[in-house]
């Protein structure tokens, strides 16, 4: 739990009981006039503790602990790519935002002849979504009685993504860790039975370790995490053993609440969820708090919607996605087809583009730079006016691209018509419907 300015002040030199330290109180070396002023800045996270050269070790550790995020940041790395999960601070995305997207991994078994091929396909997969390049994050290699070390080595050679090593047998795990040398995989899992050996391996190979309890047993899971931590493993991932919709929603919610609202350090780690082949369950894991999601197979028709879902849920609600201003071609338009204009707020863009596209009518959509606001908001804020629309028309050289000089403006900004006629001499300005849903009918009946 973060400390208040006054609580921090009590840990700084001005409040020290040690005279040697206290004499540096209010020394200004941190750049602030007093220790109290510095404490206030620390509380607001606008200053760094390292700016004070005299703070005592004990105070330092207390302050650092208080500044630690409630969900520890865990990093796994592959030969070239890495993944960071954790550092979350809220239970609902509207409270602030979700920060680090959960890694989506595809499981292969060491008995599977095509394990490396699957890894290669997962590695190569990427898909464009509103200008973002979406990818999966890694391969989970499961020891199922085959040659684990050889499979890990082959998978490592086939992908630059990080790995998860799925085995509860310490000897197999060590063989896998050796084969994964040069990367930092997640090792899954330590249980009540094997935790000592697994913790020793995780500490020795400096990899994060997942701890697994059964049937969503929070207390057993917390106890296990504490034991593993006591054995020198700092980077921990929690697997409460919940595999279905109900139990995973319940236990992930309970654990995340403990970490964030109760500052319960014992469970202040990311979670791993196993979704099998159930895309909806994977979707639940993404929305409800998993840091790692393991799928049993790789299929683009399932992975693409999941990656979009993840991008959506992890969009910062305070910074809505904007689309790139410019001209968008819908349904392969010819120079005779209609030109429409709207703003670059993503939802506005999608509403308009989707209506036109689904109608089958070809058209040109000019997306003006309205700083990511919707039509009415942007108009009210002066970000969507005749000048900006004209700038878009000219900047995108539409006169050269089109055989006509007609533009449809949103019905909500009909008032811009006069000004726009002045800004775009020789152009015919048409006032379109207020709502995107009425556009296809408007184009069918009014454009000809």
């Amino acid at each position: 739990m973060s400390l208040s300015g006054i609580q921090i002040y009590k840990l700084l030199p001005a409040s020290s009981k040690n005279a040697e330290v206290k004499k540096h109180g209010n020394c200004k070396e941190c750049g602030y006039p007093t220790c109290l002023a510095f404490a206030m800045k620390l509380a607001q996270k606008q200053a760094e503790l390292a700016q004070c050269p005299y703070v005592e070790d004990e105070s330092k550790s207390q302050l650092e602990a208080s500044a630690a995020p409630p969900v520890r940041l865990i990093t796994v790395t592959g030969t070239e790519r890495k993944l960071e999960v954790g550092n979350e601070t809220v239970l609902f995305r509207h409270e602030k935002t979700f920060f680090n997207q959960p890694g989506i991994f595809v499981r292969v078994k060491d008995t599977q002849a095509d394990a490396a091929d699957v890894a290669k396909a997962v590695d190569a997969y990427s898909v464009d979504y509103v200008g973002m390049d979406l990818t999966l994050n890694g391969i989970a290699v499961e020891a199922a009685g085959g040659d684990f070390a050889a499979t890990v080595a082959a998978v490592k050679a086939a992908t630059s993504f990080p790995l998860i090593l799925l085995t509860e047998d310490p000897d197999t795990a060590e063989a896998g860790l050796k084969a994964a040398e040069g990367t930092r995989p997640l090792l899954w899992a330590a249980t009540a039975d094997n935790w000592e050996a697994m913790a020793k391996l995780a500490a020795e190979y400096k990899v994060p370790l997942a701890v697994r309890a059964d049937d969503g047993d929070v207390a057993a899971l917390a106890a296990l995490a504490e034991q593993v931590k006591g054995a020198g493993v700092e980077d921990i991932v929690l697997d409460p053993g919940a595999r279905d919709y109900g139990s995973s929603l319940t236990v992930f919610t309970q654990l995340r609440r403990l970490a964030i609202k109760k500052n319960e350090r014992k469970v202040g780690y990311p979670f791993i969820g196993f979704a099998g082949d159930d895309a909806s369950l994977a979707g639940q894991h993404i929305a409800k708090y998993a840091g790692f999601v393991v799928l049993d197979s790789f299929s683009p028709g399932t992975v693409y919607p999941l990656l979009v879902m993840r991008a959506n849920i992890f969009t910062d609600p305070q910074k809505p996605i904007q689309v790139q201003p410019g001209v968008y071609e819908i349904n392969n338009p010819t120079p005779n087809d209609p030109l429409m204009v709207t703003t670059n707020f993503s939802i506005t863009y999608f509403a308009v583009a989707n209506e036109v596209e689904s109608s089958g009518i070809p058209g040109w959509l000019l997306v003006a730079d309205a700083e990511g606001m919707s039509v009415l908001t942007a108009w009210a804020a002066g970000k969507f006016d005749a000048e900006r629309i004209a700038k878009g028309v000219k900047g995108n050289e539409l006169e050269g691209k089109l055989d006509h000089k007609r533009i449809v403006i949103p019905g909500h900004v009909a008032v811009l018509m006069g000004e726009l006629e002045e800004e775009l001499p020789g152009w015919e300005i048409n006032v379109g419907p207020r709502e995107a849903v009425d556009l296809p009918n408007f184009l069918k009946t009014q454009w000809g």
């Binding site: 609902f92 995305r93 509207h94 997969y125 990427s126 898909v127 464009d128 979504y129 929070v218 207390a219 917390a222 106890a223 504490e226 279905d244 919709y245 109900g246 929603l249 319940t250 919610t253 309970q254 609440r257 403990l258 609202k261 109760k262 319960e264 014992k266 469970v267 895309a279 909806s280 369950l281 979707g283 639940q284 929305a287 409800k288 299929s299 683009p300 028709g301 399932t302 992975v303 693409y304 919607p305 999941l306 979009v308 879902m309 959506n312 849920i313 969009t315 609600p317 993503s346 939802i347 999608f350 509403a351 989707n354 596209e357 689904s358 849903v437």
Partner: protein, 316 residues
């Protein structure tokens, strides 16, 4: 080591229960009714609250074979899309809790046609019915007012009812014992405000479904998701005018998305069309289930099956 205590939220508020449909005893003709709402926790957190009624699934059927539906959808339903009676029966067989009868926008629409079509559906199924007009202000009024009268006492849901047409639709619901689907743009305050306006006309809160507008996966889904979470949190915190069960339309929205509709000329990375399309609908619906949806209107039979499995697992 001290035991870990699971933190539980104790909410003062509770979502209202709304019952769709009326049996013969209750003045209608439905074989069964469907009740939604009644929760006093965030969705499916059984360790701290009660969720007496799982979310219900409505299957959308249309008065005529839809001209703009993807072939993936039309193929899944087959010939029944040619005949609204056969379609209603097929939807019931595919596991609908409620039938959503949506009128398409075409030349043949008028009050008389709407009455006759509705009457056929009413007789073809014993399930509660939601009726959506064609989505054009004047026609919606004409269709919905006629059906409200034709189905008097059936406790239909009439939609959509927004800030422009609510006076007409609410008046029709008031006189004929129906429920309205109160739709606003995705905004907590707008939802609340429309509920108040409708209630001020005398329609009891137990007859107002709240519809915060659905956006498909990839097309603003997260806005709806967060508005629904905020509405539900407000309801649980005791804000009476937000304590309505929520109706969402992931079927209609997901199938408007290019990802569901287009089978050709799309990037290879989009994968198999039918697989992707059904996932588009189910993942949209699934996210809304997690954020508090009480009635989900779906289109594809496979989506119905999967969303049902998800709800059954969560409701346990």
């Amino acid at each position: 080591m001290p035991a870990i205590e699971i933190p539980k939220e104790k909410w003062s508020g509770k979502v209202r229960e709304i019952t769709l449909g009326a049996t013969a005893d209750e003045g209608g003709t439905r074989a069964k009714t469907v009740t939604v709402g009644g929760q006093n926790s965030m969705p499916f957190l059984h360790f701290e609250g009660d969720s007496p009624n799982p979310p219900a699934i409505a299957i959308e059927i249309q008065d005529r074979k839809p001209a703009d539906w993807s072939s993936v959808l039309l193929d899944a339903w087959g010939d029944v899309t040619e005949d609204v009676v056969a379609w209603a029966k097929a939807a019931e067989e595919k596991g609908a809790d409620v039938i959503l009868l949506k009128f398409g926008l075409h030349d043949g629409i008028n009050a008389d046609y709407a009455r006759k079509t509705f009457r056929k559906v009413l007789e073809a199924t014993g399930l509660p019915i939601i009726v959506f007009g064609p989505g054009q202000a004047e026609l919606d009024n004409e269709v919905l007012v006629a059906i409200a009268d034709e189905g008097k006492g059936e406790r239909l849901v009439l939609g959509v009812c927004d800030d422009k047409n609510y006076r007409t639709i609410v008046a029709a619901a008031l006189g004929n014992e129906h429920i309205v689907d109160a739709r606003t743009a995705m905004d907590v305050n707008l939802s609340k405000q429309l509920n108040i306006l409708i209630n001020d006309m005398g329609l009891p809160m137990e007859r107002i479904m709240m519809d915060p507008t659905t956006a498909a996966l990839g097309y603003g889904m997260e806005y709806g998701y967060s508005v629904m979470e905020r509405l539900r949190l407000a309801a649980l915190q005791g804000d009476s005018m937000t304590q309505q069960p929520m109706l969402v339309t992931p079927g209609e929205e997901a199938w408007r998305a290019k990802e569901a509709r287009a089978g050709e000329d799309v990037p290879e990375a989009w994968g198999d069309w039918a697989e992707r399309a059904v996932n588009w609908e189910t993942i949209t619906a699934g996210a809304l289930v997690e954020s508090g949806a009480d009635i989900l209107a779906l289109r594809h039979p496979e989506s119905v099956k999967r969303v049902r499995a998800m709800i059954d697992a969560l409701a346990k």
